[in-house]
């Protein structure tokens, strides 16, 4: 079978189960694509030999009683993997080798999958274009010189280019959904607390959530099922029964009410996005959903709120990088304080330092109430908006991003224009609710555009079902000329 890498995760598992293909062949095919895909710069660490050994072991004694039997998976380099370098895209952790495994990756391995490699990302997941990584820009397989989005840019790029059958990312303000939208793939940010944060390099702890990135909605349901679950090691993990998202997946969404928030129609939004949204409304209506206009009045305050809350939490989380216990240490400085200052100055990149400084400032004496407490209050208002709307609707439909993928360096020197990428994704993180982005069309350049479905807390099944029905109707076809192999 030559084109195994083009198949969905669910199809690959089906073929493995029917013994039509071996895990070793699957793994070799993806490694072959990885070797040919170096121009994309989506990998930081390759685990080829280890993956092949795992595949061979699986084939010797194949077991199919779990969700991901014999599947190689590359993961964002923000998940700690035991004995495998975990960098978070930073010089600070360039040589960090965890001696423990994150709960999420452990869950995947317990379901029969194994590690294929570690994927590039924005430094400490801070970025919307994968241009802040110490290990260089990741390229979007849709076109040369184009960003894949961020921060899970390596994950999105590798997934779209068929270098991994599925992957996982993290989403603090849109870092799964925005790159999924930019690369024509599916990405889901779960309800805060559904997936354990234990063993994930922390960015903003009240917002961070891990989630699946896949090529189909069916794969997304399967991956979420494999990843999610209560973890006593994460104090914010929700203690509830595991759900069978893949088994319960249905295209029957008759009678569901879908809200259309008027505040998401922003100034300067390209016509193509407007059209995409209209089409989304129409096709959901066609499959039996009811479309209802709603209002989320505080939407415009979500990004300013996020750029207080996230840097504040980041400045606190990243205080641990002091050059003493692990990570990079500067050799400059005559005393302990100078060692700290030089270590952090040389070890962190510009965007990370900027956010630490903003965070330190808004938490500092005299400014705490004016900025941080103010932002927490507005966060409450934003959450209230969603709570009110979900009394009337089952889910909310919006565009995933205000534009398609942009060129490398296009927004690098203007932090605000970069931050505006996340205008449609950030409110969801502030409210702690789930949302999925699915590919829904293309712009004039034939670049993919995504639609976002937002759900009630712990209502992942419903947004997966709506996405499943929409996906079938949209019938999006990824059209890549594989320029990176030439």
């Amino acid at each position: 079978m030559t084109d195994i890498t083009k198949k969905s995760l669910t199809e690959i598992i089906g073929l493995l189960k029917k013994k039509e293909i071996k895990s070793e062949e699957v793994t070799k095919s993806f490694i072959n694509n990885i070797e040919k895909g170096k121009k994309l710069n989506s990998f930081i660490t390759n685990c080829n030999d280890q993956a092949l050994e795992k595949a061979k072991n699986f084939d010797k004694n194949p077991k199919f009683d779990n969700l991901l039997p014999g599947v190689p998976i590359a993961v964002k380099d923000l998940f700690c993997t035991k004995g495998i370098k975990t960098t978070a895209g930073s010089k600070m952790l360039e040589n960090f080798i965890p001696n423990y495994e994150s709960t999420i990756t452990n869950n995947l391995w317990n379901e029969g999958a194994f590690l294929l490699g570690k994927l590039n990302c924005d430094e400490y997941a801070m970025g919307s274009s994968n241009e802040t990584s110490f290990f260089g820009n990741v390229i979007n397989p849709i076109a040369e010189n184009t960003v894949p989005g961020g921060s899970s840019g390596g994950s999105a790029s590798a997934l779209a280019a068929e270098l991994t059958p599925t992957t996982i990312g993290t989403d603090t303000g849109g870092s799964i959904r925005q790159p999924a939208s930019f690369t024509g793939t599916v990405g889901l940010k779960p309800t805060y607390g559904l997936c354990s944060r234990w063993g994930i390099v922390a960015f903003a702890s009240s917002l961070d959530q891990a989630g699946p990135m896949t090529r189909t909605v069916e794969d997304c349901a399967l991956m979420l099922e494999a990843m999610s679950g209560f973890d006593k090691k994460d104090s914010t993990s929700i203690n509830k029964k595991k759900e069978n998202y893949s088994k319960n997946l249905t295209k029957n969404i008759k009678g569901l009410k879908i809200g259309i928030p008027k505040e998401y129609r922003v100034d300067g939004m390209p016509n193509e996005i407007e059209q995409l949204w209209e089409n989304g409304k129409k096709l959901l209506k066609d499959v039996g959903a009811e479309i209802i206009d709603i209002s989320l009045p505080n939407t415009k305050y979500a990004l300013p709120t996020y750029y207080i809350v996230a840097p504040a939490e980041a400045s606190s989380n990243l205080a641990r990088y002091d050059g003493v216990k692990y990570g990079f240490r500067s050799l400059k400085g005559d005393n302990l304080i100078e060692m700290y200052e030089n270590t952090r100055s040389e070890g962190f990149g510009d965007e990370v330092k900027r956010r630490i400084l903003i965070g330190t400032y808004v938490l500092s004496s005299g400014y705490y109430d004016a900025y941080y407490i103010k932002a927490q209050k507005v966060r409450q208002l934003i959450k209230n908006d969603f709570d009110q709307s979900f009394k009337k609707v089952d889910a909310i439909l919006t565009p995933s991003t205000p534009s398609a993928a942009f060129k490398i360096n296009e927004k690098k020197d203007d932090p605000i224009s970069m931050y505006l990428n996340d205008i449609f994704t950030v409110p969801v993180n502030l409210a702690g609710i789930p949302a999925i982005s699915i590919p829904a069309g293309t712009d004039a350049n034939n670049f993919p555009l995504g639609l976002q479905l937002i759900g009630k807390p712990l209502d992942e099944q419903k947004i997966l079902n709506i996405a499943f029905a929409a996906e079938k109707k949209i019938n999006f076809k990824q059209n890549l000329n594989r320029w990176w192999e030439k």
Partner: protein, 95 residues
């Protein structure tokens, strides 16, 4: 609220990040524009709103105070950039 170079220097001291003198102007400019952006929040009256610090409805769980690891000194020291047998090594702190 205007952000000037002195404020940036003060905050970088608090954050323990030395800032390159050559970069301080562009850093001040960027951070000022970000503050201008976030100060949009001042348009909102939030006097009667309670700050939201956690999205979860339930209080954080507590666990029994039992030792569940230990004997992992060498593992912990393994990633240290400078160690001496069983200790982390840092620049001299006491004269």
């Amino acid at each position: 609220m205007s952000i000037d170079k002195d404020k940036i220097k003060h905050v970088s001291k608090l954050a323990r990040i030395s800032v390159d003198e050559k970069k301080i102007d562009s850093l001040t400019k960027d951070i000022s524009s970000i503050f201008k952006f976030i100060e949009q929040l001042n348009e909102l009256n939030t006097d009667k709103v309670k700050p939201l610090s956690s999205i979860l409805n339930e209080p954080l769980r507590s666990r029994k105070d039992v030792i569940n690891d230990g004997k992992i000194r060498d593992k912990i020291l393994q990633n240290s950039p400078n160690k001496n047998e069983e200790f982390f090594v840092v620049p001299k702190v006491i004269e």
